[in-house]
């Protein structure tokens, strides 16, 4: 049964469905105003705010490197084989030809074996129910991005909902998240995960003007 967790809180704002235990989130459907305000060095978020996560990015990795990884995941034929991958290649590498994510079969590719060390810092792009976008950085390693159920480049399904508590640090208009300041609610938005890797690959290439 549908609920706010699998709805787009911006586009479906007027038709959001809350189960009884989700009623408390209604009060968090407020705009994130810091992105509209003058830049402030250090302040805090006033009230609990509900966001949906529309992008996740490892800030220790270059865009080129990310393009390489995704290309290899989508179709090893188009990937580069001119670099040493650590292990003697003794078996056929599975080549994923499709990343269509259809509702209940929207698992990211199984081949994503992304090692995360403690020095990785993820940058999230969050969207509130009014469509405002903002960056959110990890102030400490966030459990919901590193748990046993997370995997792949994006770690979670895009469109997952995140409740950021009032009092969370805001620096230069960006949120700085700690585990104690957030409640990860899960969920997804199907559209955001549809052809995710192909779409992301195009975005990344456009971002740096990569021509291949």
């Amino acid at each position: 049964m549908s609920s706010v967790l699998v709805q787009d809180i911006y586009k479906d704002r007027t038709q959001l469905i809350f189960h009884p235990i989700q009623e408390t989130f209604k009060g968090a459907l407020i705009p994130y105003t810091h992105c509209l305000a003058e830049t402030e060095n250090l302040t805090t978020l006033n009230d609990n705010t509900l966001f949906q996560i529309v992008d996740v990015r490892d800030t220790t990795v270059s865009t080129m490197s990310l393009i390489d990884t995704i290309t290899d995941m989508i179709n090893a034929n188009e990937g580069f084989q001119d670099h040493y991958k650590g292990n003697r290649a003794t078996r056929h590498r599975p080549i994923i030809t499709s990343v269509d994510i259809n509702d209940d079969h929207n698992e990211p590719p199984e081949t994503e074996n992304v090692h995360i060390n403690n020095n990785v810092i993820y940058r999230l792009i969050l969207q509130d129910c009014f469509g405002n976008l903002c960056y959110a950085y990890e102030e400490e390693p966030l459990q919901f991005l590193r748990g046993s159920n997370t995997k792949g480049i994006f770690r979670i399904e895009l469109g997952s909902k995140l409740l950021v508590h009032g009092g969370t640090k805001v620096s230069i208009n960006t949120l700085h998240l700690k585990n104690e300041n957030i409640t990860f609610l899960g969920g997804r938005i199907i559209k955001l995960n549809y052809h995710l890797y192909k779409r992301k690959l195009k975005e990344l290439k456009d971002e740096i003007g990569y021509e291949i």
Binding site: T63, M64, A76, T90, H92, S171
Partner: protein, 628 residues
Amino acid sequence: MRVLCVAEKNAISKSVAGSLSRGSFQTRDSKNKYVKNYSFKFTFPQWGECDVVMTAVAGHLTNKQAPQGYGWGECLPEQLFTCPLYDVISSDDNKKISENIINLARNSDKLMIWTDCDREGEYIGWEILSEARKGNSSFDLNTTLRAKFSHLESSHIYHAACNPIKLDKRSIDAVNTRLEVDFRTGYCFTRYLTDLMKNKLKSKENDRLLVSYGNCQFPTLGFVVDRFKRIKYFKTEEFWYISITLKKGITFTWDRGRLFDRLLTICIYQDCIINGGDKFIVKDVKNNITHHYAPLPLTTVDLQKDCSRFFRYGAKETLDIAEKLYTSGLISYPRTETDSFPNSMNFKKYIEIQKQSNDWGEYAQLLLNPSNNRFRIPRKGKNNDEAHPPIHPVSFPKNELRGKEKQIYEYIVRRYLACCSTDAVGSKSTIQIQWGKEFFSTSGLVVLEQNFLEIYTYSKWESSNKELPNIKIGEHVKFSNAKIISGKTSPPQPLTETELIALMDVNGIGTDATIAEHIEKIINRGYITKIKKGSGKSSQFVLQPTILGYGLADGFGKLGFEDISLTKPFLRIDMENNLKCILNGSKDKKTVIQEILKIYEDSYHITRSKSSIIVRAYEDALRHTQEA
């Protein structure tokens, strides 16, 4: 009893004859001027004193051939996937060698194969047996004996002659499978590509120009094109990191490395200033003993990589020279994937031999003296081809070697002595500090014992110049400077032959014995070139695709194969795995050939239906080059 022995090369035949006869043998010419017949007497434990004739082939005797009606222009290329195939003697020289074997077999009671002890050697043994049967039908796989040896030192050869085994049918089948797949796919694609590109290629020798396909050649080309593209299309990106300087010369580097987000770096820096001010806290001070490990025993690929790196020798050149050192009895068989010496190896015997050297004899002596505690049993690697031990010296040259032979022999000796030496030892000091919530580190090294590095002069491990501060855990220390530094990513370096060998090895393209040939072949075919970069001592040759090579790899990459690729290593890895299945008996030759050819046939049909993409890729590459 009359015993016919056949080696893979005349030089091996002569050396084995010399060892078994203790230098007392008679030499007779055969019809092939490079192959001699050596006659002598030898006492085999199982047969007593025998009359032995030792002769040789010159590598493979036969090759695959399609029957009449399947020549170029006489059939469609794809018919080569299914046409009958025959094994025929490959040249007039080989016909003379075949006649020699048939004649000698007529007067022999036993056949003993002395080909190299690898898969290819087993198959050549089978070819020899097939010819010998024409002269003596009593020879078959059960009656034919096979000497197992890995170097030409006399006692080893004597042991091999007295303890023969049998030819391995599965190895023969595996090589036969590879040869059939290579023939069918190579001929089919080569004919098709040559006809397709003939009118497009600007060459005065168009009629003789061959656009060849080989299932190792193309992935090898693929690596070169991949690197070229990666450089060509590289986009520089800016990154940022925080660096702390305690005082001049003492800098702490950020444990996070670098971030590709300026805003985040600034936020973190700002947070550090607020929480840490101008002081850091010392979190950890460590002084550990560290080791620089002595090298693993030497494989062919490592020999080729190192000779390319240290002496700038090509892979094929290195292997040719090593082959010469082997046939001269100076080193063990140079084509091996094994990086562990057998437990029974008498290491000190081969160190002892090196005592007579003016250059490293003293070090050999040092290793042998137990009071020095410098000798160690070499480390064991993870690769074992079950055929040959790692490359090692087996004797000392009677006459002084010169030039490249001298250099490669010296390298092999030094590597062996290094393997038998203790690791280098150092003391590594590391200090970790915390500024705000961020961690930074610095370290220094003092080399305490050089050990193997004394003989293995190709490798360097030196003490660092900086002196670390004398600070204690928990101490709050004021620093002189903390700043955000920006940098830019740089493109990968052009591909060197050393790297290409490593890539081929790690991806299973070719074998220790053939990697060099594949590189040589794509150079000769005009798919890649060697270009000298830099000048003086830092100059090196790098590999770049030609317009044709680039166009072919790019074109094949754009054909839109769904789950196969002709320019990536996957298909070849699959084939190698299938050959291993033949070796372990889990698949038979027929099944493997059918499975592999089906994939190639499918790719051929896709290639033919989209041939314009390949032509266009070549034309694009040509146009871009002309514009540039």
